[in-house]
């Protein structure tokens, strides 16, 4: 079926681009490699947990940084969690912003932290969008009777 082959090529090209642009790294490949017939939704499940957890953390960060007297240890704790979870799914660019973010926390630099918060929100929104597109492509392939190329 030509339609399926085209979709599969589209998926491969899209995935390659995401890696080239640094949105995803090898850890994401590790996730994909552990997915099998006994657990065909594994990657989507893990990434969905990441989305929920990240949104919670971003809200907490916004609240913590909005206080009169900022508790930088609390900020750092949230960023540490976000850094960890983004690293666990291979969301490289989110992870990188978190590293810079923690440095500003250590320095108790409010302006730096606020800038990083904005940056990490942007990077999160981008990777979320990209991953959702990727999953949609996979669904289209499966719906057309094809299999996901690795």
């Amino acid at each position: 079926m030509d339609g399926v082959v085209q979709l599969q090529r589209q998926l491969l090209d899209y995935t390659t681009l995401l890696f080239q642009e640094g949105f995803l790294n090898d850890q994401f490949t590790q996730l994909q490699q552990l997915q099998d017939e006994t657990n065909p939704d594994f990657v989507v499940e893990v990434v969905s947990l990441f989305f929920e957890d990240s949104e919670r953390l971003l809200n907490e960060l916004a609240n913590t940084l909005d206080q009169q007297s900022i508790d930088f240890r609390k900020v750092d704790s949230h960023v540490h969690q976000l850094k960890g979870s983004s690293s666990s799914i291979g969301a490289q660019r989110v992870q990188n912003v978190c590293i810079a973010f923690r440095n500003f926390c250590d320095a108790q630099n409010t302006e730096g932290c606020l800038k990083c918060l904005q940056q990490v929100k942007n990077e999160y929104a981008l990777v979320k969008n990209k991953l959702e597109t990727l999953f949609q492509l996979e669904q289209q392939i499966l719906a057309a009777g094809g299999s996901i190329p690795m």
Binding site: D53, K83, G84, S85
Partner: protein
């Protein structure tokens, strides 16, 4: 996926991150371990404590052969759990592996000195989990509890 007549090793995993719990559970199951996952040290101790009671009732199934724990957790840390295990006459035979996203040599040394079997840098890989079996086979598999 165990072979007939061979019981699986049971690993207790401790991590406060829901994403990391899902990941370590998948890694351990892929490597044919029986897995219990908890989100805190207090829940881990509860599980191990309950295990003691069940053992007195001759239930062998919940025996834990290895504990793998995150280092940084709110409340009691993985290091605190390690210390509690090694201080317990009944539990100190259980090998403990520490995981951390931070590569801090002094932290690693501290854990190894306290009796940790190994230290894995996060994100943990399948190759790390595959290293667990030799650790387990090197120990007495019958732990008197």
């Amino acid at each position: 996926m165990g072979m007939a007549g061979e019981s699986q090793f049971h690993v207790l995993a401790v991590d406060d991150s829901i994403i990391d719990r899902k990941w370590i559970e998948k890694l351990l199951k892929t490597s044919s371990f029986q897995v219990t996952v908890v989100d805190s040290v207090s829940k881990a101790l509860e599980f191990l404590g309950l295990q003691k009671a069940e053992q007195r009732n001759h239930h062998q199934e919940t025996k834990v052969n290895l504990i793998i724990t995150d280092y940084s957790m709110p409340g009691m840390t993985g290091y605190d759990l390690l210390k509690k295990i090694k201080e317990s006459t009944s539990l100190k035979g259980i090998p403990v592996v520490i995981m951390s996203s931070e590569n801090i040599p002094s932290r690693i040394n501290r854990c190894l000195e306290e009796g940790a079997e190994d230290f894995f840098l996060k994100p943990v890989q399948l190759s790390d989990v595959n290293k667990l079996r030799p650790h387990l086979l090197g120990w007495r598999t019958l732990v008197e509890i």
